[in-house]
Amino acid sequence: MEHKHIISVLVLHKPGVLQRISGLFTRRWFNISSMTVGSTENPDVARMTIVVQGDDTVLEQVVKQLNKLVEVVKVTDLNSKKSVQRELCLVKVYAPTEDSKSQVIQYANIFRGKIIDLSTETLTVEITGDEQKVNAFLDLVRPMGIKEIARTGLTALMRGSKILKSNKA
């Protein structure tokens, strides 16, 4: 059965690693929904959160092929673990009137979003949450007119005190 998998990958923080990983996905026709990269508590290690679409066999191959890369330190399928997931989305909404502006502000409040920019015609909202929450907010403001969206893609961590050790041994 096809579904989305969230994979957390610890990689050595080096130039070229991103190319190696994205090249692997291209070559093997793995379907990436999103990919985020950033530094971690360990300056030598970066964390990538990759959302892949596919069945379980695809997921197994993704994990195994990632593990083969020399610079990949640890790969975990977060679907099998309890995890927290967040995405950041910036959305510029068309709101030329006072009414429409207050409407957006109200929606943003309900979704715990923040207004981070304002112009005569638009409002820009920052919203974080899991995918569904971000999607729900976007659905809400879409009728008003979305001018532009920037989404980061999901980033995620295991829930609780467990951590991914950055040592494979």
Binding site: V11, K64, V72, K168
Partner: protein, 587 residues
Amino acid sequence: MKGAEAMMKALEAENVKVLFGYPGGQLLPFYDALYQSDFLHILTRHEQAAAHAADGYARASGDVGVCVATSGPGATNLVTGVATAHADSSPVVALTGQVPTKLIGNDAFQEIDALGIFMPITKHNFQIQKTSEIPKIFRKAFEIAKTGRPGAVHVDLPKDVQDDDLDLEKYPIPAEINLQGYKPTKFGHPLQIKKAAELMKIAQRPVIIAGGGVQIANATPELIKLSEYAQIPVCTTLMGKGVFPEEHPLSLGMVGMHGTQASNYSVYESDVLIAIGCRFSDRITGDLSSFAPNTKVIHIDIDPAEIGKNVGVDIPIVGDAKAILKDILIHLMKKEMVNKTEWMENVKKLQKKSMPVMEFDNTPIKPQKVIKEMMAALREVDPGLTNTVLTTDVGQNQMWMAHYFQTSAPKSFLSSGGQGTMGFGFPAAIGAKFARPDANVIAVTGDGGFLMNSQELATIAEYEIPVIVVIFDNRTLGMVYQWQNLYYGKRQCAVHLGETPDFIKLAESYGIGALRVEKPEDINEAFKTALNSGKPYLLDIIIDPSEALHMVPPGGNMTNILFPDRQEPTPKAQCFSEMKKILSPKV
């Protein structure tokens, strides 16, 4: 010392003895350091051949083979050879020159993104950015190439990195290296091993498929022991050819698209299939839904990603084939096996059906006859055929050899499997000769494939490398024309090689002894002459161009073996007249 000198020290520390390469501007410091070293450097006449030679060396010895090429076009010429080595898990370290670091990214003369180009066709690759990184990166490159599932590793060497000074005391060559994200598994999981042994005990119709992994792990003694003790017949993949003696009563021969009936039917009918160091490529399985439909699969491989990739597996065991087979044997020896008389009889029947016919008196000569005579001549100097290394090229010549040449020693049949690279055979034989200087090294090739790297005649002539080249000369791209006949309504397109060149004159122009053989009764003598010459030699054997191979169509059911009719090649005449009009417009 200079960076390049440190590189020599690093190569020495890795026990490298011979390098195959081709110099260029961005490698001048490297070659200058080489001048002052004791390394043997073989100047091939094309970088692709350097990579194949390093690969041949690696396959025949099990040690790392090293090739070198300059930046830009030198690096790209290496690509085919490196990809070929990597596809067959051959440990090759490829070194390329690069423009000085301050020019990288500026499209300098002969600059190319070698790091990017080699990335998808190697196990790993490096670009050395500072001279101080040389000792560690060289160590890592060799370690990665030869451990776990071996493969190709590329190292890009900017010119200034070769030139700058390095204090080796401050940055010594590490003896041990810790690669954080790289820890190959050697020993199999004990529980899985136990389960596998249990299954082998109760199996009524078991078959082993032995692949290249058995070769790499040097697991032949354990494989023979397992097969004999548990009475399990063995078929091999192309890469596994040699890991199980083919004259052994439990040998089924090659499996897959061009496999024997014995192998393909046994696999189909098996109830337990034990795959060892084989990646179940499409050339082995054909249509996956009809591949070994009623079998339980035990898959042993050092690369976890190979397990379950193509074929569903019941008992996966990750680790080194030798270690795992040893452990399985310990479990097996404790108990009795299920009686397999019926299966053994069935296997024997199949083996009889697959017995190759090799005695032909026809002219033009049949390839089977060439191989028969080749074996006979070789047996006179090497009775067990254990001191002979064969390389093949790609095409019908390769498959005929895979079928009819009986191999009984591991690492003695070298062929490009994963990539099927034409042009591989001849240069690979050059490398193999350096790995096994005492062995008879023979490159069997088609006329098409030979022409792809025939310039290496210059290399074997210059260094007097006693490699024998045997051309199965059918003046066609045989394998392709066979497929066109079979699947494209006999429309033969772009497969006729015509009558040129005269291979004898070609060899002689390089100062190499050569014989043309056109009659079956002359083959044996020709081989003897070549073998006894102790020099580079070329045999141009004119074979029957209509001889076709049996095969299973791509993606087909492996028991539907097709025995095609012979087909004469028929050049498309009109093509030539059109060409003449274009090339000499006045006519």
